[in-house]
Every structure is written in C-alpha cells, then in structure tokens.
Symmetry: C2
Subunit: 236 residues, 2 copies
C-alpha cells in the first residue's frame, strides 16, 4: 500500500476511494489486462469481494476510473485547453501527484481500449480544430482536422512514450528535473520548422499525384528471393 493521490490520508478514505485510487495506479502501470482485481484489492487493503460490491466488474471499475480522472483533470485543464489549445507547452508543467497519475493513467488507457481515453482524444482534436479556426492566421494547413489529429496524437503519444523518453533523458519526465528538460526540448521542437516550405510544397505535389493515381502498390521491397529460406527451411 502506497501513499494516496494527494488529499486525505490513506486511513481517512472510504474503501471505495481507496479501491479506485489503487486501480488508477495499477491500471496505469500494468494496463487493464495486467492489473488484477486481487492486486487492486490488496493495495487498497480490502477483500476482492468488496471491489465487486462497489464497482461490479473490472470493466466497470475501469470506466469509473476513466470518469473520475477525466473529471479531475478537466477541472485542472479546462482553462489551459480553451486558452492555448494543445500548443501550450507549459501545460505539462504541473507536477501535482494527481495530475501526474492522470497522465500515466491516460497514457496507458490510450492503448488499452478505454472509452474515456478515446473520447478524450476526440474532444481534444475538436478543441484544437476550434483553436486553429480562431488562430490560424498563416493558413498552415488545408486540412485542419488532419492537422489537429496529428498534433493531438503526437502530444498524447509523447506521454504514452514517457518511459522511453525518461530513459533517454536519464530522468523521469514526469518528475521535476526531467519535466523541465522535456519542456525545453518541446519548446525547441515547436519553435522551428523541420521542413522548408520548398520541401513541403514538393511533398504536397507528390501526394496529390499519388491521390490521382492508384494507391501505392503493395510490392514488398527487396522481395526477390527473400523469405523462402527464412519461412520454409527454418529449423530449430
């Protein structure tokens, strides 16, 4: 049993809240398949039957976690999202345990089939489109929806990859030192274009050509003589 998610002391929480918090932690760490009801119950200091009593089923527990964490994060994030869209690098600079757990939880939930994570993604794409509509004076894109989806996916994806990034930087990006460094790198990344306008124009022209043709053929590169030895004669 570990420390609570900010707020009241562990002993002061209802069993229901302790279960939910334990679930948030373990779902974030192991995903919904890897986290078991028994482990969640143990971490909450209750029996597994009580998990069932309060939440009914594992998926319902996950849905309750989605809803709870969404509501908490929305309260914190609402202003930032409405004001800056997803482009605001400062929005990551919040190291409160609840927020950090929320990041971890939703990062994992994004790939675990969570309905709450999916709807969060869709909401953020929509909000980013709205932000673009209000702010895109330079006409950076002819496809605001696609652009918004890419922006949201990359920003979310960065969090999903947090373990790897932390390893690469040698510090937890969801901790003080690593987070400052991460934000510095994000600022550099967002403040420079990676492609010149000329290359971009060429790429768009090529894409337009491809659209006018058949879709790219599915020939496997280097497929001549490849694979047969690997897939047929492979012996143990």
């Amino acid at each position: 049993m570990t420390h609570p998610v900010g707020g009241p002391a562990f002993e002061d929480l209802t069993a229901r809240a302790r279960i939910r918090d334990a679930a948030l932690r373990l779902f974030a760490e192991r995903g919904i398949e890897g986290a078991t009801i028994r482990d969640i119950a143990k971490e909450a200091g209750v029996s597994s039957g009580l998990v069932r009593h309060h939440f009914g089923s594992k998926h319902a527990l996950r849905d309750a976690c989605d809803a709870y964490m969404l509501e908490r994060l929305m309260r914190i994030k609402e202003d930032a999202v409405l004001k800056g869209g997803m482009a605001d690098p400062g929005m990551l600079l919040n190291l409160h345990p609840t927020v950090l757990l929320g990041y971890r939880y939703f990062a994992r939930a994004m790939v675990d089939g969570s309905p709450g994570a999916a709807s969060t993604f869709d909401d953020m794409v929509r909000l980013t489109q709205e932000w673009l509509a209000a702010n895109d004076k330079d006409h950076v894109t002819a496809d605001p929806q696609g652009y918004a989806a890419v922006l949201v996916a990359m920003q979310s994806g960065l969090l999903v990859m947090h373990d790897h990034v932390s390893r690469a930087l040698g510090a937890d990006i969801l901790g003080p030192e690593g987070n400052l460094r991460l934000i510095g790198a994000i600022v550099d990344f967002y403040s420079h274009a990676l492609l010149s306008p000329e290359l971009a124009a060429q790429a768009h022209a090529a894409l337009d050509q491809l659209r006018a043709q058949q879709p790219p053929t599915a020939a496997e590169p280097g497929s001549a003589g490849e694979g047969a030895g690997d897939d047929r004669g492979d012996s143990r």
Copy 2:
C-alpha cells in the same frame, strides 16, 4: 486463420513461421497479456504444445517476434533512417502488409515492456542525434539529446495512437487513403513552427528561472475544499 504476411501462401509456411506470424498479429492487436498461447496456436492452425516446442515460453515467443520484425523492418528502413533521420515524412508511405504489421506490432510493443521496442527507440534517438549533428545548421536546440528524444517519441507516439487518429480522420492511417491524408497533415505540421521565436525565448527564460529555484511546488490547483466530499462521503 487469416492471410499470411505477404510472401508464401499460408499452407506453404512451416508451422513455426505460422505461429510467429499469428503471434505478431495478436500481440499487435491485444498486447502480450491479452494474446494467449491458445489463441495464437489456433490462429496458426497448430496445437498449443507446438508453440511451446518451437519457442519455449510466451516471453521467448515475444522476443523472437521482436527480433524477426526488427530485422525485417531494419532492412526496409535502414536507408531511410540513415539518410533522413526521423524527419522524413515519406518514410511512412509504405503500405506493404509486412511493414504495416510491423508498425502495429511495434506501436503496441512500445508500451508492453518489449526489450526490442525499447532498444529500437534508443537506437532511433541516437541516429536522430547523429543526423542533427550533421544537419543542424540553424542551431535549433541547445539540447540535441532532448530534442531527438522528443522528436522520436512524437513520431513513434503518433503510430502508437494510430487507432485514435484513424477514427478522427475516418480512414485507417495504415491504409492507402488515410495514410496519404496523414502524411499531408504531417507535412503541414513539420513545415510550420507552432511557437514564435519570441514565445520560445520567453519560455526558455522561464525554464531557466525555474531551474535556478526550487522545483515547482506540488500544490494541487483548486485544492481548497476539494476532494473531501468526493472521497469521504461517497456512497453507492
């Protein structure tokens, strides 16, 4: 049992290859916890004992999948990575089933504790740093490692979020129509800076100040009077 990953017909593959291919598909779709040996065996048209015979254990099977798919993708991608680093948007434009499955597989593996995926990430960060060293004439960053980690994480993270992006765009981004559209959006994204130099300078100044101070305090925003009602009096 579905079609093979390009190459020979299903019946022409050894059982070992069929098992490996089935594992790649199911691991990509469900993760290592969600995909069972029995389902993999069934999809490969063999008994579960044969999976054990050929691969020993589930984790060894996953390691074999890592190694196989890495080798296959490296062969395809080696030139592209060495030439353009991770900045080349055209590198996604490859719709061969093996490559697409590799994207799906590694996207999932990135969050499933796969050693192969982790080392792939680290390799790509290193390669991107080398590319920066050779190409960064504009001095876009004082922290090449951080920048490279962010760039790789965002690009990889975009793939990890492929289900969500596909839903937002209304087409599979790992299919012909969605992929073209995705690349168009990526081109737009990479060809424009999202932050002005002024804002970036301000952000860096603020980050330097924060580094000189204590790390950000962990006060919860809006914590006054919050949480007690939720966590104590919550009744079912």
